[in-house]
C-alpha cells in the first residue's frame, strides 16, 4: 500500500469488509481476530448457520452481525452486507471469505487501485504471479472451462473466473445489484462490471485451499444458474 492509500484510510474513508458466513464456527474466529487489527469496519452476514457461527461473531463487539433467518446462499448474503454497508455510509466495500482462504493483510492490495488510481472495482486473482497452491484438477480442467463459459456467455475477460475477493466503490455497489443468490454471483458481478463498462482491475492474491471447497458439482450448479438467469429474465 502506498502512503497515499494509508493516508486516505486514516482520513476517514469508510471501508467495510463484508463476510458471508455459513457454518464457519471452526474458522471465523481466526478471520475476525486477524481483521480486528486492521482499520476496517467488519460486517458478518450469518446465512442461517446451523452451528455456533453467529454466537462466535456476537462475541466481537466491533463487528456488525446480520442474520438471515433462512439460508439464502452466498450471493444473497453479500447483497445483504452491501445494502447494510451502503446504508451505513460505506465509501468502499470489500468482499471477503469467512473460512480463512484469503489473507487479511492483502485487503490493502485490493483497495489500492481504488484509492490510488480511481478504479471502480477490483478483483483478487489467484492466477497473477502470487503462488496459490491450487489443486491441479481445478487449475487445469475446471478453471479453464469456467473461463471459457465466462467469456462466451458473459463477455468476462479476467484471469480468475470465480474470484470471491473483491473491492468496489460505493457507486459500484449501488449499481451492481447482486441478483444471483447462489454461487453464480461471482460471474454475475464480473459480467455486470464489464457490461456497465466500469474501470476494472485484477490484482494478485493468495488463496489457501482447505480440504473441502467447491467441487465439480458446484461448478455445474453455477453453470445452471447462469443459463437459467439468461432464459428467465
Amino acid at each position: 500500500m502506498t502512503s497515499e492509500t494509508e493516508k486516505i484510510i486514516s482520513n476517514g474513508v469508510n471501508i467495510f469488509v463484508v463476510i458471508p458466513a455459513y457454518n464457519e464456527e471452526k474458522r471465523i474466529r481466526q478471520v475476525l481476530d486477524d481483521l480486528s487489527l486492521l482499520p476496517y469496519k467488519v460486517v458478518v452476514v450469518d446465512d442461517a448457520s446451523n452451528d455456533r457461527t453467529a454466537e462466535i461473531v456476537a462475541q466481537y463487539s466491533k463487528v456488525s452481525l446480520l442474520r438471515h433467518k433462512i439460508n439464502r446462499d452466498q450471493g444473497a448474503a453479500l447483497q445483504t452486507g452491501n445494502q447494510y454497508a451502503l446504508a451505513k455510509g460505506a465509501d468502499i466495500i470489500v468482499h471477503f471469505d469467512g473460512d480463512g482462504q484469503f489473507l487479511s493483510q492483502e485487503i490493502k492490495d485490493v483497495l489500492a487501485p481504488i484509492v490510488d488510481d480511481d478504479y471502480d472495482i477490483v478483483f483478487g486473482s489467484r492466477f497473477l504471479s502470487k503462488q496459490s497452491d491450487i489443486p491441479s484438477f481445478k487449475k487445469n480442467i475446471i478453471f479453464p472451462l469456467a473461463r471459457l463459459v465466462n467469456r462466451i456467455f458473459l463477455g468476462i475477460k479476467t484471469s480468475d473466473p470465480q474470484s470471491g475477493f473483491r473491492a468496489m466503490t460505493r457507486e459500484t455497489a449501488l449499481r451492481i445489484q447482486i441478483e444471483q443468490d447462489g454461487k453464480a454471483h461471482c460471474s454475475e458481478i464480473m459480467a455486470k462490471a464489464f457490461e456497465y463498462k466500469l474501470r476494472i482491475k485484477e490484482v494478485p492474491i493468495t488463496v489457501i485451499y482447505h480440504e473441502f471447497g467447491q467441487g465439480m458439482g458446484h461448478g455445474f450448479k453455477i453453470l445452471k444458474d447462469i443459463l437459467f438467469s439468461k432464459i428467465s429474465k
Binding site: 452476514v45 456476537a58 463487539s61 466491533k62 463487528v63 456488525s64 452481525l65 446480520l66 442474520r67 438471515h68 433467518k69 433462512i70 439464502r72 444473497a76 447483497q79 445483504t80 445494502q83 447494510y84 446504508a87 441478483e179 443468490d181 437459467f228 428467465s232
Partner: protein, 110 residues
C-alpha cells in the same frame, strides 16, 4: 366410447364450475379464466367430436388427429412448466428480500 365421453363430460363440467366460482370470487384474472375455459372446452369438443382433430391435423399437415393432440399437449405442458419456473424464481426473490430486510432491521451493532 360413450361411457368415457359421459365420464369426461361430467369431469369437465365439474372443473368449469369450479373455474366459474373462482372467477366470481375474483381469485383468478379474466385472462387466465378465459384461457382455462377455452382449454377445457377444447378437451370437451375433442372427446365428443374426435374426427375434428383429424381435419385440423390434416389442415396443419400432421398425419393423425391423435398426434396433433399430443403435440399440443406437450406444448401446453412446457409452457406451464416455464410459467411455474418464472413464478418460482419470483417467489425466491421475494423470500430473499424479506430475509434481507429482516436481517438489516435486526442487526447487532457495537
Amino acid at each position: 366410447m360413450m361411457y368415457l365421453q359421459i365420464l369426461v363430460t361430467i369431469f369437465i363440467v365439474f372443473i368449469l364450475l369450479k373455474l366459474f366460482l373462482q372467477k366470481q370470487k375474483n381469485k383468478i384474472s379474466l385472462l387466465s379464466f378465459l384461457v382455462w375455459f377455452m382449454l377445457w372446452l377444447a378437451v370437451l369438443i375433442v372427446f365428443w367430436l374426435p374426427d375434428m382433430t383429424s381435419y385440423l391435423a390434416a389442415w396443419l399437415g400432421i398425419g393423425r388427429g391423435a398426434d396433433l393432440v399430443v403435440y399440443i399437449s406437450i406444448l401446453v405442458i412446457f409452457y406451464m412448466i416455464f410459467k411455474i419456473f418464472v413464478r418460482l424464481n419470483k417467489i425466491e426473490e421475494g423470500i430473499t428480500k424479506v430475509v434481507r430486510d429482516d436481517a438489516i432491521k435486526n442487526v447487532k451493532e457495537e
